[in-house]
């Protein structure tokens, strides 16, 4: 009995090794790499849901010249080496024609390296470190703004309304946090704002008070923080506790726009600004519909990451439709000629500053007002007027 079991196990292994991927009818396969498990799983989930929503719409409208589009999702678990393996599996085993996804900057970077080397067109939709499109890799395209563009919407707000003289920059020591902090420091230099404190921290800290009390002593006008959700909530809670009251708190995107931030920071989230890449009331075709459809289907809100994913699916489908064939070069060519409007905004790849194949989009400013995230700047697209100056004593009562 045991011998037969052993034999069966070996047979199963051999079958697994030799069996080709099981696919029924003709579909066009595109690989999407996201953090489906691990610490960033919440974002991975929003993106996967959005990809699938868009996929349904695309296939319902006839797919790609009659053939169905198939998205194969791979989990990078938030680690770059796993992302790399996932990319290789999609390219070599599943034989996809394009790659998409890319959430964490380190993971995206690793995937991009593989894609460029294997001549596989890769459309990045979230990974934001500038470096990703600064390598002159012609197979890597990015539809979302790079980290250095995140505070763009904030800039005019600062120069026209706030006019701060000093700032403090706090950032998580990840790829995203570090590169964002560099670019914001450069922005401050340009705007004549003196950076009094610039400090990184390792995520997962329990007590940020040593850091915050240093900031309190420096007394900056503006505090700019780049964190993921839980650190963001703790930072604001502890700032409130220490009665740290600058003219304004601004988050650099990521954690600060998530509903979980508001849930966990509670009162301390109120009146906090954040840079953002998207908001549902922006005049992009289908933006509001996408938002409402997502809320209806999944029972919770979506935000810019979801919009990026939805747009990516649309761009991928559009590229596949326009391409002369499914060969890497034709796809790359078609991708570079993209000029399409999506829920995330218009997508057209250009070269600017040191980047190539980069889509250029404006960014915006949101503010948490009484528990809801509102778009507040630029004024002409605002959903609610901004609140500034802020009376912290009253807000934090």
């Amino acid at each position: 009995m045991k011998k037969t079991l052993g034999l069966l196990a070996c047979l199963a292994a051999i079958v697994g090794l030799l069996a080709p991927g099981v696919s029924a009818q003709e579909t066009i396969k595109v690989g999407i790499i996201l953090p489906l498990t691990g610490a960033q799983a919440a974002f991975g989930e929003i993106e996967k849901n959005s990809f699938e929503m868009a996929l349904e719409e695309i296939n319902a409208a006839g797919g790609i010249k009659g053939k169905k589009l198939e998205l194969i999702f791979e989990d990078d678990t938030g680690k770059p080496e796993v992302a790399r393996s996932a990319a290789e599996k999609l390219i070599n085993k599943d034989k996809v024609v394009m790659l998409g996804g890319g959430y964490g900057s380190s993971e995206t970077f690793a995937i991009a390296g593989v894609a460029q080397q294997s001549r596989m067109p890769f459309l990045v939709n979230t990974g934001s470190a500038d470096k990703i499109t600064e390598q002159k890799w012609d197979y890597v395209f990015r539809l979302n703004p790079p980290a250095s563009d995140y505070p763009g919407g904030l800039e005019s707000f600062l120069t026209e309304v706030v006019k701060p003289k000093t700032a403090a920059i706090l950032y998580e020591d990840s790829n995203f946090g570090t590169s964002s902090s560099q670019s914001f420091e450069e922005t401050c230099e340009r705007l004549g704002i003196k950076v009094l404190v610039k400090e990184g921290y390792s995520k997962g800290g329990v007590d940020f008070k040593p850091l915050l009390v240093k900031v309190k002593q420096a007394n900056p006008d503006l505090i700019y923080m780049i964190s993921y959700v839980m650190d963001a909530a703790l930072l604001m809670n502890q700032s409130m506790e220490l009665r740290l009251m600058p003219k304004l708190f601004v988050g650099g995107g990521a954690g600060f726009t998530m509903p979980e931030f508001q849930k966990n920071a509670g009162k301390a989230a109120n009146m906090v600004f954040s840079a953002t890449l998207w908001y549902q009331t922006l005049p992009y075709p289908g933006a509001k519909e996408y938002f409402d459809k997502y809320v209806n289907k999944h029972g919770k809100e979506t935000e810019y990451h979801g919009a990026e994913a939805h747009a990516a699916a649309v761009v991928i489908a559009d590229t596949l439709k326009r391409a002369k064939s499914l060969s890497p070069d034709d796809l790359r060519q078609a991708l570079s000629e993209t000029d399409v409007k999506t829920v995330f905004g218009p997508v057209k790849f250009t070269a600017y500053e040191k980047m190539t194949n980069q889509n250029k989009l404006p960014t915006y400013l949101v503010q948490w007002i009484d528990g809801k995230l509102e778009l507040v700047w630029p004024k002409d697209v605002a959903s609610k007027p901004y609140v500034f100056p802020i009376d912290w004593e009253k807000i934090w009562k």
């Binding site: 007590d207 008070k209 040593p210 850091l211």
Partner: protein, 291 residues
Amino acid sequence: MEVLIQTLVSGLLIGGIYALIGIGMSLIMGVMKIINLAHGQLMMVAMYITYVLFEALGLDPYFSLFIAMPCLFVLGAVIQKFLLNPLLKVDSILPENQVLMTVGVGMVLTEVIRFIFHSDYKSVKTSYSSSAIYMGEISFNVPMVAAFGLALVLTAALFFFLLKTDLGKSVRATAQNTDAALLMGINAQWITVLTYGLGSALVAAAGTLLLPIYYLFPDIGGPFTLKAFVITMLGGMGSTVGAILGGIVLGIAESLGATYISMMLKDAVAMVIFLLVLIFLPGGLKTLTKV
């Protein structure tokens, strides 16, 4: 000056929680000489129990203490009885098998929790999570003060247990010399089960008290296990007072490191202290006192 005082206060308060995390491990290491690499994961399980009780029954974490601690006691005892004790009898090349068993246990605990609750962050927000008492400009975070107080209470209770009760004395006897203890009629096997259970219960308390001011995810255990080691070594294995002192020293050192060196290196500060203690003061602070 205000920066220094606030830093010291923060360090002191978090030191209380650290002490509670460390005291369980100090006990386990002192009695059984086992490096318990599953310590942080046990704390994590207790935190999830607290979370579930909060979400499902609205039970305040301070009350959940009375449920989480016994639960972890049982879990710890079971682990010791069925997985760790049997290893003592096995003849293997390296004595470090017990440590690796705890690695396996830690992994299984983490993954089972991940399966049930997924990896996203959970948290427990109570009305007092962010409240603070102010002395001048210096803030004392209320949950942390409470945790500090409870850490002292539990340490005192453990101290009393070990020094004054028969059972406690048996535990200390087993720690000092297992063979002699056996000869004296102490059921050493049972004592190890009790000790691991007790250590688990203590770290459960730490987790429950930590939850209102932090957050929760399956992988939270690792860094805290490391901290527990530092505290155990710093304070001296098996020393209750040592654990309190160790926790506070670590908390303050980290805070000072964060403020005056850099927030990113504060964990490195802990590791350097750890290394120095290992090399130069192997008995821990306990050797400097008499307790």
